[in-house]
């Protein structure tokens, strides 16, 4: 609402329905991230299904911090990270820290990453996924005082990188249509 009011122009009256519409569109990025996280925990019986949760969470947070950082402010990222810890059975604090670091770096490099097309964003995400997975691994190992196997972390990074295009294409569609507050 506040952002919309700063631009001049003629707009329809802010009725209740319209305000709800705008709120829903603004809540879409965080809402769909959380919904996807819960979906990955559904018992589909896929082998190594637990790896889907970090992969999807990293991809979603990276995507929305590039394309709509205003819709996931740091406190929301923190809450998503907390949910990630609880769902993924990680020591508390690992998820918020990892996601906030990904969010902060993606925000800082936002312009070069979005200006040069999708492939650059994907390549950069491969780096983000590897960094995020390794950071999670290091923190989990430090907090549980034991050397955890590195294999799952690398698999997690590879899975996230592989899933990113499919996820990003549908999220870009949503970003331009149902999630766009300008179209309310």
């Amino acid at each position: 609402m506040a952002a919309a009011d700063q631009t001049p122009g003629i707009r329809p009256r802010a009725t209740l329905g319209r305000r709800l519409d705008i709120a829903a569109r603004q809540a879409f990025p965080a809402g769909c991230t959380i919904a996807l996280m819960l979906l990955t925990e559904t018992p589909f019986g896929i082998a190594d299904q637990a790896t889907l949760l970090p992969a999807v969470t990293l991809a979603c947070v990276y995507f929305w911090s590039l394309y709509r950082p205003a819709a996931i402010p740091p406190p929301v990222v923190f809450l998503i990270g907390l949910l990630f810890d609880l769902l993924g059975y990680l020591p508390l604090g690992v998820g918020p820290l990892t996601l906030l670091v990904v969010y902060g770096l993606a925000l800082r490099w936002r312009r070069p990453l979005t200006a040069q097309g999708f492939a650059t964003g994907w390549l950069a995400f491969a780096g983000f996924a590897a960094g995020g997975a390794v950071l999670c691994w290091v923190l989990a190992a430090l907090l549980s005082f034991r050397l955890l196997p590195l294999g799952p972390a690398l698999f997690e990074a590879a899975l996230a990188t592989a899933l990113y295009p499919a996820l990003a294409i549908s999220l870009i569609r949503a970003h331009r249509t149902v999630a766009d507050p300008e179209r309310a």
């Binding site: 019986g45 059975y89 691994w137 997690e156």
Partner: protein, 287 residues
């Protein structure tokens, strides 16, 4: 709402990220200082989500079953012959087992043997994987007033699955024997030698600390030991298999990768509290 100048608002916006990063470090400390906090939060979330997963599990299971039966149709003949052979073999074993059981009963009667008490158990459905990336565990949906306690033992129809480590109002978390934190005292059945079964997060846990001279044999059965009062004796775990690196591992008898229904047994043992999942301090307040 408090009116702030644009500069102050911008400064605040810039501060949010560093403050929240500091808060995540604080959360890590909090999680280490109060291990029960994380456990309670986790189980509360699991309690909320378990009914949804349980409701979804049935149609998803039906779907999986129909896909599996469609693929089974291809080799139904070969499967049939294999099963007939196996049935033949098992029938022979059954007669041997019945004879041995009768003899065992007679001998026990002669020896004034005090029988082990029959354990009580509850049956529960596995609703979700509860391990995450760095642990091996499953979440059970157990219904309210279940009476399940930490440290109780989970078995499927073939063998040992693991131990209950966390209990919520409607759910229980079972740490599998393959988990990195799992340590189980076992007996090698042929040599009756003691050893420890160490989980590695892989499909097959490793055998360590066996007595000198009692080297595990390939294919030897491994059962639990009553040592330390954590498990009752002689629960089947699996069979010894040497890995490519010549390390003795145990192929679990339980179908740990597709658990559907498990039984939680209360043997009334309290020797050792359940192993801690990663990121927990030992629960000193007892169970």
């Amino acid at each position: 709402m408090i009116r702030l100048s644009i500069q102050a608002r911008q400064a605040l916006a810039k501060l949010t990220l560093p403050v929240l990063i500091a808060a995540s470090f604080g959360l890590m400390l909090l999680g280490k200082a109060d291990a029960l906090l994380a456990e309670h939060a986790r189980m509360a979330l699991a309690d909320t989500l378990a009914p949804i997963y349980a409701a979804l599990a049935e149609p998803l299971g039906d779907l999986r079953d129909s896909i599996a039966s469609a693929t089974d149709l291809w080799d139904v003949r070969a499967e049939n012959t294999r099963l007939r052979d196996e049935n033949e073999r098992l029938r022979r074993w059954q007669s041997i087992a019945l004879a041995l059981d009768a003899e065992n009963q007679r001998l026990k009667a002669n020896l004034q043997w005090i029988p082990d008490p029959d354990p009580s158990y509850v049956t529960a459905r596995v609703v979700a994987d509860a391990g995450g990336v760095y642990a091996k565990a499953v979440l059970l949906s157990v219904g309210p007033n279940h009476g399940i306690r930490k440290g109780e033992i989970a078995l499927d129809e073939r063998g040992l699955v693991g131990r209950v480590t966390e209990v919520g109002a409607r759910t229980a978390r079972v740490l599998l024997i393959t988990d990195l934190n799992s340590r189980i005292p076992v007996i090698l059945e042929n040599s009756r030698a003691h050893a420890i079964l160490v989980g590695t997060n892989g499909a097959r846990p490793r055998l360590t600390y066996w007595a000198e001279g009692a080297i595990p044999q390939e294919g030897e059965r491994v059962v639990t030991s009553a040592e330390a009062g954590a498990f009752p004796a002689n629960l089947p775990i699996g069979a010894v298999h040497y890995s490519a690196a010549n390390v003795p591992e145990v192929v679990p008898a339980a179908m740990l990768d597709r658990l559907e229904i498990v039984r939680i047994f209360d043997y009334g043992l309290g020797g050792i509290v359940a192993p801690e999942a990663p990121g927990r301090l030992p629960d000193r307040r007892g169970r």
